[in-house]
């Protein structure tokens, strides 16, 4: 697999992602600058976490208007795999490659903690190494992660399997008590209809080694390369 990791001014999880892909998984990976106009030749593009363009105006919107933003749209339309993590998820909603929007957390706190997540769809190229219904633990670190879509759109997304991850208890119960940021339906990650674009607020790249306390994240990367 040939991976690209997008670099916008303010991206800050780009090296973490690069490290996991190259050093832990031995994949071919390149950084791509936000002024780049084509993503031809790559199999999978990762939009990493951070604060692209300082989160000015709305998180992700300025990044979505760059030449690389248009290249991402072209790449997605040709069926390329795109993974957006945290700020990358925000960029994908601003590009309209994913439905919905990510708003300021319900309680206005910047949340830097671990969460449990239930895997609702394990048939994607990003999730096939997980079991359906499996509960995993990943870190979150965001101020604007409250996923919003209108209720009827959420129902349609659920029917189509576009809700991929939900915040839950350690036992897998999806309830408001385990919803860290006020997202509709406890949604933590969604994909597009075609299943080649996936965005999530948690950070799988930060959960790949026992040294860091967890390694559930490695299964996501594993899904992509096997």
């Amino acid at each position: 697999m040939k991976f690209a990791v997008c670099v916008f001014p303010g991206s800050n999880c780009d090296y973490d992602t690069y490290y996991v892909l190259r050093d832990l998984l031995g994949q071919e990976v390149s950084f791509v600058d936000y002024q780049r106009r084509s993503l031809q030749g790559f199999d999978c593009v990762v939009i990493p976490g951070g604060f692209s363009f300082g989160d000015y105006l709305r998180a992700g919107v300025l990044a979505s208007k760059t030449p690389l933003g248009q290249a991402l749209v072209d790449f997605a339309q040709k069926g390329g795999l795109i993974l957006g993590i945290c700020n990358g998820f925000q960029v994908l909603t601003e590009l309209h490659l994913l439905p919905g929007a990510l708003l300021k957390n319900r309680d206005l706190n910047f949340l830097c903690t671990d969460v449990y997540l239930r895997v609702e769809n394990n048939s994607l190229p990003f999730t096939r190494s997980f079991e359906k219904g499996e509960v995993i633990r990943l870190p979150i670190a965001h101020g604007e992660g409250r996923y919003y879509v209108p209720e009827e759109e959420l129902r349609r997304m659920e029917e189509r399997g576009q809700v991929v991850l939900r915040y839950c208890s350690q036992e897998g119960k999806v309830e408001e008590a385990f919803n860290p940021n006020g997202s509709v339906g406890n949604v933590a990650g969604v994909c597009n209809r075609e299943g080649n674009v996936f965005g999530l607020m948690p950070h799988p790249e930060r959960a790949c080694e026992d040294l860091l306390g967890y390694r559930d994240g490695i299964l996501l990367w594993h899904s992509l390369i096997t």
Binding site: L57, V61, A101, L103, K104, R106, L108, R146, Y148, V149
Partner: protein, 70 residues
């Protein structure tokens, strides 16, 4: 000419900033019913500038925000 684009959270959507400010003001003893926090983008543009397109395509996310041009 100077143009202001007033951007507010869409009605019915949770506005945690507005809620926090309202709670603070109530605690300070002010009889406040509702507070909404939005943002203002001030532009200085040529007469020919299409401010509506600027607002709708760039400044506002219509899924979650409403706007007014002044």
């Amino acid at each position: 000419m100077k143009v202001k684009v007033l951007i507010m959270p869409r009605k019915g959507l949770l506005d945690p900033e507005g809620r926090a400010v309202k709670e603070m003001l109530l605690e300070e003893g002010f009889p406040v019913r509702e507070v909404k926090v939005g943002k203002v983008v001030e532009l200085e543009v040529e007469e020919t500038a299409d401010v509506k397109t600027i607002a709708e395509k760039y400044l506002v996310n219509p899924l979650v925000e409403e706007y007014q041009i002044e």
